[in-house]
């Protein structure tokens, strides 16, 4: 019986104006997405690869001296662009694409400061005076278009039948009400997803036939998950549509309620809530960081001047301690600021989860390997590599028996050149299991939303008076 009703709904929908319009809209959006991706992605990959090679060359040119390697650090580390950039752009223009190891000379003595990882401010391109736009990625198509379409397919499914009087007819038969509801739900779900699946297929066809962009097995798995999330998200809005439609007498009123809810939750809620939530905490500002760094510097230099001047060896020992101590404390300070900033953003993001649109945005970002969570992964990779690099320096120095093992002083370290190949390489990786872990709670939250809305739609429909 369910199938019977679903089939009836489906035929009704397929012949309707809204289905045709949906088809045109989704196809247009998805084609644009594919074409733009094919235009931009090869250049993005090319830029990443050439930057990585350049950075590596700079690093290897320092291999003559272990001291230089130790002081100047690993140079620039680049974030690997995701092949699924077209699924979710994830505000990548606002996140820096690299972290950089900075170093500078102190202007007294011949002691140099050690490198430290800097997380450059992700200033949006200041030369860009083009108008602001949202990227047309899958996240946009799903988040905005698909949800609106889902509402348009269900707003009149109960109230419309009641207006026309057909609801009385259906319920006069010996069909349980939940069967009717599920039938309607399935009918709408299938008709929405026929057009969406078709649009997705054409999008993927265009992208995968191009030789410039290659999608691996992992990427296809991710696309599958993204499609599943889109399905869940459609269910959510279909359920919402059914709920309102069952509660309200007239379909026009139902649509007004649904549209206004949609505008509030999908268009405005995420950014307004994020702005409100980010106002609750204020991380260390750049000026404050500067002041505290100078404090550390002054304190260490004072100690240095007190203890030096006895013998050359002791001076070197004190110098080595100064340099390493400075690096440790500066690193700690910079990481503390980074942590505070990350916490602020994460708090804002978790509050925006009231809006299902934001949840889906986050989910799509994590599975597409873009956006904020991905950026955090990249930062973690870079920090891990930083430690590995420091260990490499110490290890190399230890193998040289002539060295005094005073890291941070030129004469105190191994004088042998280092083999360029031996320097560890930075490999930025994307891992699906990690992404799944970060996304699990959001996925559950989304499912919860769907279940709650579906059951309340059921309750509302059971109590409907014809």
């Amino acid at each position: 019986m369910i199938w019977h009703i679903a089939k009836r709904e489906l035929y009704d929908n397929l012949n309707s104006l809204r289905f045709a319009l949906t088809m045109v809209l989704l196809l247009g959006l998805m084609l644009t997405n594919a074409v733009v991706h094919l235009q931009e992605h090869p250049a993005r990959i090319q830029k990443y690869l050439s930057s990585v090679v350049d950075a590596r060359n700079v690093l290897e040119s320092r291999a003559d001296s272990l001291y230089d390697l130790a002081r100047k650090g690993p140079g620039k580390l680049y974030k690997k662009p995701s092949p699924l950039h077209f699924c979710a752009e994830g505000g990548d223009t606002f996140l820096s694409s690299a972290v950089e190891a900075h170093y500078y000379f102190w202007d007294t003595d011949d002691l140099g400061s050690f490198w430290r990882m800097q997380y450059p401010a992700a200033t949006p391109n200041l030369t860009n005076i083009r108008p602001d736009v949202t990227k047309v990625d899958w996240a946009f198509v799903i988040g905005y278009a698909l949800s609106l379409i889902a509402l348009l397919f269900t707003f009149d499914s109960v109230s419309g039948e009641r207006e026309r009087g057909t609801l009385r007819l259906i319920l006069a038969n010996s069909v349980p009400r939940h069967t009717v509801l599920i039938g309607k739900f399935l009918g709408a779900l299938i008709s929405v997803n026929i057009s969406f699946a078709l649009a997705v297929l054409i999008n993927l066809l265009v992208i995968s036939t191009s030789s410039a962009v290659h999608l691996g097995a992992d990427a296809w798995g991710r696309i599958g998950i993204v499609f599943f999330i889109a399905l869940l998200y459609t269910c959510l809005f279909l359920a919402l549509g059914l709920l309102v439609s069952a509660r309200v007498q007239r379909s026009a009123v139902s649509l007004v309620i649904l549209l206004l809810t949609w505008v509030t939750f999908v268009v405005f809620m995420p950014s307004i809530l994020a702005s409100i939530a980010s106002g609750f905490s204020s991380p260390m500002s750049a000026d404050e960081l500067q002041v505290r760094r100078y404090q550390i510097n002054d304190k260490l230099w004072e100690e240095y001047h007190q203890k030096t001047g006895v013998s050359k060896l002791q001076d070197m020992q004190v110098g080595s301690r100064l340099v390493t101590q400075d690096k440790v404390e500066q690193d700690r300070l910079i990481e503390k600021r980074l942590m505070q900033q990350v916490e602020q953003v994460q708090r804002a993001r978790s509050i925006t989860q009231i809006s299902p649109a934001a949840i889906v945005q986050h989910l799509l970002e994590s599975f597409a390997g873009t956006g904020f969570e991905r950026h955090l992964q990249f930062l973690e990779n870079a920090q891990h590599y930083g430690r590995q690099y420091s260990e490499f320096i110490v290890e190399t120095d230890r193998t040289d028996l002539q060295s005094l093992h005073l890291i941070g002083v030129r004469e105190g370290m191994s004088q042998k050149p280092v083999s360029p190949e031996a320097i560890p390489r930075f490999e930025d990786t994307l891992s699906l299991s990690k992404d799944f872990n970060t996304a699990a709670t959001e996925l559950l939250l989304l499912i919860l939303f769907v279940v709650v809305l579906l059951s309340s739609a059921y309750l509302a429909f059971v109590r409907v008076e014809v």
Binding site: L25, Y144, D287
Partner: protein, 506 residues
């Protein structure tokens, strides 16, 4: 007769659920957004004030010209009307160096902000954006059944049995719906203004209120365009359900899809990179010519010694440096030079001092001339590479009423490209004033340029930067084309609807 019709329609509309919902949702969104925006503006203002203070301190604590001139910065204050339409206001740089070695432009500005830069991933919302999305939707919701409903219900036939002109019916529907739609618009703006005036850090002048009036005007025109679109659909389809469906899709296309899709497909061209590279080469060449002349000057000079210091020494410390600085992306290339001594000069240095004075007098005249010369090339190229594509984008956006409305309101608030360019023009003007001031005092060839052993610079006479946002007349002139465009569309749509309605059979 018209009054009776309007009264009937108005009562019909006011008593509906959609009117209550419209008022509620607009008020809610605008108030929430305004509260957030005010806080954001206040933070930007604090940043601006600290930044101005720091920059002034940096200049004032120097005793000689050279190290201070390097540190003359101008800060861009946040625009209080950016709450209405933020435009480019917090996207472009807000502090800019006005040292004489380059002509400052929009592309040389830096961003100075105490904010957590990660927060940029959340898009910001201004009041006009809320109107753009919500008001257009409401206009369509009010319009979809205005004619189709009457066709279906058969009431139109009833009305037309009376001796009423059809134009009157249309006009009555339009006026009453617009009155209903104006209510949420005006109420929410009023609330926003009340919130604004309770904030202690935002001062709105009389002109600002007039500009807000301009925004209201643009909003009304925008609303009316969407109401007419809805009415047109309603008149053509004659069925409420079809009209509603079509309206929502048209809305989704015009408001959400079109602006994003059209800009995604117009990517910047590769030719601009070549154009930039060739201009950069020219600029570099001019500066190399300058460098040859500089070296020639030094070579033909009677006193030996190396620039930039000429072996002048001071026991109290000094700082010196010079060199070329470049940024290929913004086509910036210039020669910089700094020299200062912290106190007394050594005895043996003194004979060289007039010589250094002579050199710096020559050098800076050259630098300023060369900077002017290269600016001509640079301005033209920047215009071609950055401004022209941006203007084309804006024209493409204007194919949707949303783009026109956005452009018109940005022109009123002064956060559009022209408004921002006004600021940078003022900065260039200020730099001219500073250079004239320095010439006037013969600062470049004075001993005070680098040495403070005899006197110190009195910074109180240094001209101060001040910037007035463009006058309301200029705003009007800039907003007028888009406003007129919106009005034209209104008239055209009304005529079409009128013709369809006149000819239609009941």
């Amino acid at each position: 007769m018209l009054m009776t019709l309007i009264r009937r329609e108005l009562l019909d509309n006011l008593m509906t659920f959609r009117f209550a919902a419209a008022v509620f949702i607009t008020l809610l969104l605008v108030v929430a957004a305004t509260a957030v925006l005010i806080k954001d503006y206040e933070r930007r203002l604090v940043d601006y004030n600290t930044s101005v203070e720091t920059h002034q301190q940096n200049v004032r604590k120097r005793q000689t010209y050279s190290p201070a001139i390097v540190r003359v910065y101008v800060d861009r204050p946040p625009n209080p009307l950016s709450l209405f339409n933020v435009g480019l206001d917090n996207r472009l740089g807000n502090e800019i160096n006005v040292s004489p070695w380059h002509v400052p432009s929009l592309w040389d500005a830096q961003m100075n902000s105490s904010d957590n830069s990660f927060l940029n991933i959340f898009s910001s919302i201004d009041i006009v954006f809320i109107f753009e999305v919500v008001l257009s939707l409401l206009a369509l919701i009010f319009a979809y059944d205005a004619l189709a409903g009457e066709y279906e219900g058969g009431t139109l036939r009833l009305v037309l049995t009376h001796p009423v002109q059809r134009g009157y019916i249309l006009l009555a529907k339009y006026i009453s719906a617009m009155l209903c739609l104006l209510m949420p618009l005006l109420m929410s703006l009023l609330l926003a203004l009340i919130l604004l005036t309770t904030s202690t850090s935002i001062y709105l002048t009389t002109d600002d209120f007039l500009r807000v009036g301009g925004i209201i005007l643009a909003s009304v025109a925008y609303l009316s365009v969407f109401y007419f679109i809805g009415l047109l659909i309603s008149a053509v389809t004659r069925r409420t359900s079809t009209a509603l469906m079509l309206s929502i899709f048209v809305w989704g296309f015009l408001v959400l899809v079109y602006p994003n899709v059209v800009l995604a497909t117009t990517a910047p061209q590769d030719t601009s990179a070549e154009r930039g590279a060739s201009a950069f080469g020219q600029i570099k060449q001019i500066w190399e010519e300058f460098d040859r002349e500089r070296k020639h000057f030094l070579a033909t000079d009677p006193v030996p010694g190396e620039d930039p210091m000429f072996d002048i020494d001071s026991p109290d410390g000094w700082g010196a440096g010079d060199g070329f600085s470049e940024n290929r992306l913004t086509l910036s290339y210039y020669y910089w030079s700094v020299l200062y001594y912290n106190g007394k000069l050594t005895e043996e240095s003194l004979p060289r001092v007039p010589h250094a004075q002579n050199y710096y007098g020559f050098l800076w005249r050259q630098i300023i001339d060369t900077a002017d010369q290269t600016w001509l090339i640079r301005r033209q190229t920047l215009e071609d590479i950055f401004v022209k594509p941006a203007l084309i984008d804006r024209i493409l956006l204007k194919l949707s009423p949303v783009g026109m409305y956005d452009a018109a309101t940005q022109a009123w608030t002064g956060t559009d490209l022209k408004g921002l360019q006004d600021f940078f023009d003022a900065v260039r003007q200020y730099q001219r004033t500073v250079i004239a001031y320095l010439y006037d005092r013969e600062a470049f060839k004075s001993r005070l340029w680098f040495a403070s052993d005899e006197t110190v610079v009195d910074w109180d006479t240094l001209p101060q930067f001040s910037f007035e946002r463009s006058s309301i007349g200029t705003n009007t002139k800039r907003a007028l084309p888009d406003l007129l465009l919106l009005l034209t569309i209104n008239v055209v749509l009304f005529t079409i609807i009128f013709l369809i309605f006149i000819k239609s059979e009941v």
